[in-house]
Each structure stands twice: as C-alpha cells, then as structure tokens.
C-alpha cells in the first residue's frame, strides 16, 4: 500500500526521526497523551468494538498527504541493507550501488567497503576479458571509491571501449561503451578522449526510438519501454559530452520532442504522485515503476546537464516524481533503496527544475499546550531552500465542504530553525481533524526558473485539546411522575463512589456537558455507560446528546427483560473518549442496587460467564458409559435338565423304530450300489458334521464352499443308490 506512515495521523507516536532535534522535545508529551488513550483503548476493547480510533485523513479533499524529505532513518537503513557478503560484494553493480548510496546520503566511507571495492575494480580493470558492462560499473564505482588505475590498464580500457562502440548493435551495447568512455575521460589523466563519429553514433542510438517516446532495446526486439528510454537518454547525453565538435541542433530538438512525448505517458496516483511504468510483457525483463522512473530521471537530468537550452518540462511533473520517491519511505530492498536515492540525488541538483518539498515536523497540534504550526520547506534531501514565504491559504474541516475557516495569512520565518511558524492557531480552529492548504511563494524571481514548488499543498492536521466536562450528575426519577427520588453530583475527573438504589418502576438519568476549548459543543466517538452485575453480566448503553448536553435515561421498566431479571448490585462505569480529546476518561461512577421482579418461567437466562477465561478450553467432565445390563440367564442346571429332556424324544423315536421292527433288508447287496449306499449315508453325516462346525467356528462362506463340494458328491452317490433301489423295486413290481 503506497500510503505509508506519512498519510495517517499518528498520535505523536510514529514519526520519521528528523534531523531537527529541537522538535524532539515535543514528542515525549505527545506520547503520553496517546499512551493514555492506548490504555483506555485496551480496556475498552475488552467489551466493545472500538468505533473509530483514528480519524480518516484522506476524506473529501483528494491529495491531502504529507511527504517527508530524506532523513537519518534512511542513513541507518542504508547501513543495514548494504552489507558486505564474506568481505566483498556479489557483483560490480552492487558495489557501485552501495558506494553511490553512501555517497549521496553523505555517509563517510567505510574503509573495508572501499578496500573491497578497489579489489574488485582493479581485478576487472586489469583483466582483458572484462565485458563493457563490467567496465562500466567498475568505472562508476571507481568514480566514488577513487582507486588508482594504471596507465596501461586505462589505455587498454579506452581501446576496448572504442572497439565496443564501433561494434555496438543494441541499445545496451551503446550504453555500456559510451558510459564507460565518459567515466574514463574523467578518471584518467588523458583528457583527450573523443568519439570518432559522434553524429553517426547519435543517429544509431536515435534509431531505436519510437514515436510514443519509448525506446526499443534492439532492432530485432519490438518491445519498447520507458526504462530503455532512460538508458538511451543517458547514452545520448554521454555522446554529446564526448563529441569533439558541436552536434547538429536539430538532432537535439527532436530529442526534446521525444522527451515531451515520453512525459505524456506518465501515470498518476491519487495523492498527486507521478511515475513511469512499463507494461508487464515478459516477467523476466520487467522493471517495476521504481526502477523505470529512476532510469528516466537519470537519463533526463544527464541529458539536461549535457545540453544548453531549456527542456520545457512542466515543473509540477518533476514535483510529482519527487513525491513518488519520497512517498516510498524507507525501502527494505537494497536495489529499491538505490533506485530511490539515486533518483532523488538527480532531483536534488539538476538543470531541469529542483523540487522543493513542504513538510511538517508534527501534524498533531495541541490547543492545551498552545502548539504553533510549524512548516519546513526543503529540497528532497532536507537541504535549505532559497528565500521563500509560506502562506496558509485555507483550512477546511475534514468531512465538510464549507468555506475556509481561516483567512489567508503568511507564516513567520524563523532564521535560526529554518521553520515557518504560525504562533497561535486561529480562534476558528477547534479540536478535530482539518486539511490545511499551504502555498509556497519564492521571493527571488530568478529562482522560479530553477526551483519548482507546486501550486497548493494540502496537509492533514489534527488538533487535540482538553474537553471540559461539567454539570455531571446522576439522578433516580420516579417513572410516572418524573419527580426526583435521589440525586448525586459527580466529579468525573476522579473515581466516584455514588451509592444509589432503584426498583423497576423508576428511571435513572445520567447527564453531563462537554465543551471544547473554544467553547463549542463536542460529540466524542465514545460515550458509554456500562452496568456490571455482581455475577459479571454486563450491559452497555450509549449516551446521546443534543448540542453540549449529554443525557442517558434508563427506564428500568422496559429494561427488566434485557437485564435477565437479575436484581442486586450493579457497578457503573462511564467512558468518554475521542482521538481529539486529551483527557479521555474511563471512570467508575459508583454502584446502584436494582430491585427487579422475579423472572417468569420462560425468561431468557443470562449468558454464562466464564469464571476463568481459559476454562472454556479445559478438559470437560469425564463421561462414564452405562452399558446395557446383561440379560438374566437361567440357572445352568435348568438348562442342562432341559437339554436332557430334549434328547428324550430322540430316544423315544429310536425305541419306537425298534418296536416297529425296522430292518435293513432293502440295503443293496451288490458291491457298487452298496458302496454308493454307504457313501450316501457317510455324505449326509458329513454334511451334518459340517453344520456343527458351521455353528462352532466356520463362517457362511466357508461352509457354502465345502457344502458345494459335499453336495455334488452327495447328489452323485445318492442318485446312484436311489436309482438302483428304484430299478430294483420296479423289477419287483413288474415281476
């Protein structure tokens, strides 16, 4: 999210540490106010949803935002981000980026970093197989580290770079070779380095441009980007500076047109910041808005430095680009950090226009402490601006479109601190959140060509103050007549111990008045009365207001059911809180003995209050299973007796058979049928035995399997013996 810390109104807590320590004395006190509020917030959060903590700043006026120049927090972040990995950097590019960042931020050179850089540089410069890209970055790093390069080595570099220029075919080839030559010209003693055919090289680079202001990387690749445009501009600036004679002015003019076209494709965020972005075609080559904008700025300022005449770019575009880089805050990535710092360094001093940033050390002002409005106008790095005046042209309350609350007035400039100060806030500014509109006017007319300030800057301001709480009292009234039963005056500044009693036929009225320091009515975000029963059941009521008078009437007749018919002692607590209120309070008023009627059968029970907040998650009571009582079985003797009794009929059957005189005369005598007959009986016996086993231990499938075999066998032998018997009896019958 682009809106960093600078766009929210902190309550004095989260500010970038500025270099101006004088303002730091304000911070501890501001911290105290916000701390009280956080304590309250923590206790409030226990039983209610916080309605609003911070007033939304970006309200009706679009673009109300605050940008801070680069400060010490950047310097300390740079130390953390740019560290040596095992005593050296990963690549020459990183070496250069680290050195450049430290140089721009004004941090003193660390010897180990410089030594590592020098090692890397001399290695690259000495080797004959270094590519132009390596040479370029080595020379860039050397321009900062200032390691010595041998004559022989520099001669070798010049010749290889010249060869590279002649053989260059893509934009990057030209960039590396021309850039390298420009740098070696400054660094070596030979001041006599020129491009052989400057105009020809210029035209070859210009051939990569497109009509919309973007540039291609090579003639084969149709993709164009603004990033490439930045590189091309830098290259062309280098060519111009290396040319031995004046280049054709028409070439420069067409280039100025290209730059204007490029600026037409600039994109915009809501808070007024501008940036360049390329379409995401191939993820690998995609440069984000940060690197693209940084590259364009580098190219632009390099080109402006190398040519005479004006580029005619609208100043507020430069200001928008400066705000883009400042709005990032402190990046967390070393590459992003470098892009930001490098681009801002280009903006700090360039020949196009130097942006001036209006910032405030503190956007939260206290009416109690009679804070004055302090404004600072500096360059992007916090350096002094030329003589100028800051005017407050308007102040608007957030959320209203009314006219300005103040008339246009100029802030006084304090030479010592470099701040523009408005000593007393006008009477029309009460507590709350506002948008102040400032205008910066340069005092020297020549400065208007060099610097750009922007037309009007909108800044969100938050004003706090002590709210007077008066006439606070709590009254018990009779419901029907309205006559006062008991009345207690309250002092809401400290804990009260009012003791009241009421029954369900009466009403409770709490009233107080809130007045702002300027004497107007004030509606806080939170005005609640909390009633807590001794059994920890709580009820919260909002205190409504009309103008300055705040009043809450609790008619117990209607609230009996809401209170779950719980009679007893209720503790009362009042909360009045707001971000603008320096004396937000959470105070105990006292307690009230409520006498409510008995709960009817179907009344809702109060929600159970956990004794220990974590007992809800503890182990529950153990469940003991009650198994079904086993059926009563008969005594074993009875069962055995009946078992015997069941055998009796069988015996009876056998005896009966004997009495009838059964015989086995029909059993076949011939051997084959005889065996069949025997096997038949054996088979039946086997089946019955199988059934016994089935009952004892086999399962149905096994039984069926065996039964299948036995059955087939039985059918076979049975058929055999029975057909023999049938044939025998048929013969007997016919005979």
């Amino acid at each position: 999210m682009r809106f960093g810390l600078f766009n929210l109104i902190p309550l004095g807590q989260t500010h970038a540490i500025t270099a101006h320590s004088k303002d730091c004395e304000d911070f501890p006190q501001k911290g105290r106010i916000s701390l009280t509020y956080t304590e309250m917030a923590r206790s409030l959060a226990g039983f209610l949803v916080l309605v609003l903590v911070l007033v939304p700043v970006v309200s009706i006026c679009e673009g109300a935002s605050l940008f801070q120049p680069i400060s010490d927090s950047h310097r300390s972040a740079a130390l953390e981000l740019f560290t040596l990995d095992h005593g050296s950097f990963e690549s020459l590019e990183e070496t250069y980026e680290a050195l450049r960042t430290f140089q721009v931020l004004g941090m003193e050179k660390k010897p180990d970093v410089t030594a590592a850089a020098c090692r890397f540089i001399s290695e690259t410069v000495g080797s004959s197989s270094s590519t132009p890209k390596d040479l370029l970055y080595a020379l860039k790093a050397n321009s900062i580290a200032e390691c010595k390069i041998h004559e022989k080595a520099s001669k070798g570099i010049i010749s290889s770079l010249n060869a590279a220029v002649r053989g260059a075919s893509s934009l990057l080839d030209f960039y590396y070779s021309v850039g390298g030559l420009v740098l070696i010209k400054d660094q070596s003693s030979k001041a006599d380095i020129h491009l052989a055919d400057a105009e020809g090289v210029f035209r070859s680079v210009k051939a990569f441009s497109q009509s919309d202001g973007r540039w291609r990387y090579s003639s084969n690749n149709p993709e164009s980007s603004a990033f490439a445009a930045g590189i091309a501009l830098e290259t062309l600036a280098g060519i111009v500076s290396l040319a031995s004679s004046e280049l054709d002015q028409s070439l420069i003019n067409t280039l100025k047109n290209d730059i204007s076209k490029l600026f037409d494709s600039i994109e915009k965020y809501d808070d007024g910041t501008l940036y360049f972005n390329d379409k995401l075609v191939d993820g690998h080559d995609y440069q984000g808005p940060l690197s693209t904008t940084s590259s364009v700025l580098r190219g632009l300022t390099a080109f402006a430095a190398s040519t005479t005449g004006n580029l005619n770019l609208p100043g507020d575009k430069i200001l928008g680009l400066a705000k883009f880089f400042l709005g990032i805050g402190v990046p967390g990535d070393a590459k992003d950090f470098f892009y930001q710092i490098d681009a801002l360094a280009c903006l700090e001093s360039n020949r196009v226009s130097i942006p001036l940033i209006l910032s405030l050390p503190s956007t939260v002002l206290s009416l109690t402490k009679k804070d004055s409005l302090k404004v600072r106008v500096t360059t992007v790095f916090g350096s002094n601006a030329p003589p100028l005046a800051v005017k407050l042209v308007g102040a608007f309350s957030s959320g209203s479109k009314d006219a300005s609350l103040v008339e246009s007035q100029e802030l006084k400039f304090d030479q010592v601190s470099g701040l523009h100060i408005l000593n007393d806030l006008p009477e029309s500014i009460d507590v709350g959140s506002y948008t102040f509109v400032f205008e910066v006017v340069l005092q020297e007319p020549e400065d208007e060509k060099v610097y750009v300030t922007g037309s009007q800057t909108k800044v969100p301001i938050f004003v706090t103050g002590l709210i007077k709480i008066e006439n606070s009292e709590i009254v018990i009234l009779d419901s029907d007549l309205g006559s006062i039963e008991s009345q207690k005056k309250l002092d809401l500044a400290k804990k009260n111990a009012a003791s009241l009693s009421a029954n369900h036929l009466q009403k409770l009225r709490l009233s107080f008045q809130l007045t702002t320091p300027r004497g107007h009515a004030f509606k806080p975000h939170q005005a609640f009365l909390k009633l807590r029963h001794e059994s920890e059941v709580e009820h919260i009521f909002v205190v409504g207001n009309s103008g300055k008078q705040f009043e809450l009437v609790l008619n117990f007749l209607g609230l009996v059911e809401k209170f779950f018919y719980l009679s007893g002692k209720y503790d009362m607590e009042l909360t009045v809180g707001d971000a603008a209120m320096e004396n937000s309070l959470l105070v105990a008023i006292g307690h009230i003995e409520l006498d409510l009627p008995e709960a009817p059968e179907k009344a809702p029970r109060p929600p159970p209050q956990p004794v220990d907040p974590y007992s809800r998650y503890g182990p529950k009571a153990e469940i003991t299973h009650i198994f079904r009582a086993p059926e009563k079985r008969p005594p074993q003797e009875l069962s055995l007796a009946f078992l015997g009794l069941t055998i009796l009929p069988l015996l009876g059957f056998l005896i009966g058979l004997l009495r009838l005189g059964v015989n086995m005369k029909n059993f076949p005598t011939k051997p084959v049928p005889a065996t069949f007959g025997v096997l038949f009986h054996v088979g039946i016996g086997a089946v019955l035995l199988l059934y016994v086993f089935f009952w004892l231990k086999l399962d149905l499938f096994q039984t069926l399997k065996i039964l299948g075999f036995l059955g087939v066998f039985l059918v076979f032998v049975g058929h055999g013996v029975l057909s023999h018997l049938a044939a025998a009896s048929a013969k007997l019958k016919s005979a």
């Binding site: 009929p649 059957f653 009838l660 009952w695 059955g711 029975l722 009896s729």
Partner: protein, 116 residues
C-alpha cells in the same frame, strides 16, 4: 345314559382307529413316528422358553422352526410315498426321499445360520 354311551363311543372309536392304523404300511409308520418325535421336541423347547423367557429369541425360533420344518417335510414325504394317494402315482418313492433329504439339508443350513 348319554354319558355312558359317549364314553363307550369314545372307546369304540379309539379301538377302531388303532386297528385301522395297524394296517398302514411300515414305512408310513416310520414317517409318522418321526413326525411325532420332532413335534414333541418342539413342544419341549416351547415349554423351556415359557419358563426362562425368550432372551436369545433367534435361537428359540431356530430350534422350534427346525423341528416344525422337518415335521412338515416329513409329512410331505408321507403324502408322496403313500401308495393310496393317486396324485403321486407316477412319482417313485426314492425320488421323494431324495427331495426330503435335500430339503432337510437346506433347512438345517438356514437353521444353523440363524441359531447364532
């Protein structure tokens, strides 16, 4: 006089039944004995259940139905084997006996499964 005559009549009836029964062939008598035996077994099981309650009801049913089932099959066999029965004149008694054996085996498989 009526009472004495009814008693006499009962006695005469009983004697005539007995003598008629003695004329039945032996194999039919064997089957009758078998039927009597299995019904008697079933009765004993019912008496047992009446005493101790029907807790494993499936076992009770299994036992009783086994007896009753086999009695029913035996009755069927008797019908088919009886020479005086004109309906089954062409059915050889061995075939009826084979059916009886097969049905009994199937019945007892089911009974054993249901016994539990």
């Amino acid at each position: 006089m009526g009472r004495a005559s009814s008693k006499e009549d009962a006695g005469t009836l009983f004697h005539s039944l007995r003598s008629a029964y003695a004329a039945t062939p032996l194999n039919l008598k064997i089957i009758d004995l078998y039927v009597g035996f299995s019904i008697f077994t079933a009765l004993i099981q019912v008496v047992y259940m009446a005493i101790v309650g029907s807790f494993p009801f499936n076992s009770f049913l299994s036992g009783v139905l086994s007896c009753v089932g086999t009695a029913v099959l035996a009755v069927c066999l008797r019908i088919q084997v009886n020479k005086e029965n004109k309906e089954f004149k062409d059915l050889p008694p061995e075939r009826a006996f084979a059916d009886f054996v097969l049905c009994n085996l199937v019945l007892h498989l089911v009974i054993m499964n249901f016994l539990g």
